[in-house]
């Protein structure tokens, strides 16, 4: 299993953080393609690693937002609890779909997000 250099990981982390801070896009949209195209992770390993990175980064971001008083807890539960159920379905699906197909679907998602970012 290839082991990425710490400098590569640092650069990916910084790029992810800056873009998500700038545009409010989640880090995964930036992070997963960098892991696949630059580090050479397959789509599954990239997605798994991205989720852990998001836990760290989103926790820090959420903590800051809580201090600013911007968080609506009831709304967070309303979407968050169903989303936890959804992620179990999503990871189950991902494990059963060929890796290249997941990657192809991901490029479709990128196009959608590119359009959303441009026409926000």
């Amino acid at each position: 299993m290839l082991s990425p250099r710490i400098s590569q990981l640092a650069i990916i982390g910084i790029a992810t953080g800056i873009f998500s801070g700038l545009f409010g896009v989640g880090g995964g949209i930036v992070l997963v393609p960098l892991l696949v195209l630059w580090v050479g992770f397959d789509e599954r390993r990239a997605a798994a690693t991205s989720l852990l990175a998001i836990v760290i980064a989103a926790s820090a971001g959420a903590a800051a937002q809580i201090l600013y008083g911007n968080v609506d807890y009831l709304a967070a539960l309303t979407v968050g609890i169903p989303a936890v159920g959804g992620v179990l379905i999503g990871t189950w699906l991902q494990h059963r779909i060929p890796v290249a197909v997941v990657q192809l679907l991901f490029s479709g998602l990128l196009v959608v997000v590119a359009v959303l970012v441009a026409f926000e």
């Binding site: 700038l22 989720l51 998001i54 709304a75 999503g90 290249a100």
Partner: protein, 133 residues
């Protein structure tokens, strides 16, 4: 409205597990347009909702043997710090201009991801054919 928010929440979770993203791309619009939060509240609330979703996803992926813990922790730590810089830059940079550049960059990345995926699919088909003959 609550039912719609729940449905979008499930969909965001599925995308999150399938693609390794947070799901904010669906959660933020759901919070803003369906539950009526303003944009800042929607983004803040989405960040909090994402934490348990990504944590459960990462935990499932770990049991599938896909998780690189060292890489995930390192990237996450740098991203957390850099996000602060990103938020600060919003107030300094011509964000509208960068927005279009970023969208174009994403389209390019989408094309690269798609061609690499198609290459993988083709080589799988070739090796299957070769193995079969």
């Amino acid at each position: 409205m609550i039912a719609l928010a729940i449905i979008i929440g499930v969909a965001a979770g599925v995308l999150s597990g399938l693609f390794g993203i947070g799901g904010g791309v669906l959660l933020v619009p759901a919070l803003a347009l369906v539950l009526g939060l303003d944009q800042v509240e929607a983004e803040a609330t989405s960040l909090l909702a994402i934490v348990p979703v990504a944590a459960v996803g990462a935990w499932r992926q770990r049991s599938y043997g896909n998780l690189d813990i060292r890489a995930g922790l390192t990237i996450g730590a740098f991203a957390a710090v850099a996000a602060v810089a990103g938020v600060a830059l919003v107030n300094v940079l011509p964000v509208e201009l960068i927005r279009y550049a970023f969208a174009v960059l994403m389209l390019y990345v989408a094309w690269r991801m798609a061609t690499s995926a198609l290459k993988q699919l083709r080589s799988t088909t070739d090796s299957t054919a070769a193995g079969g003959s």
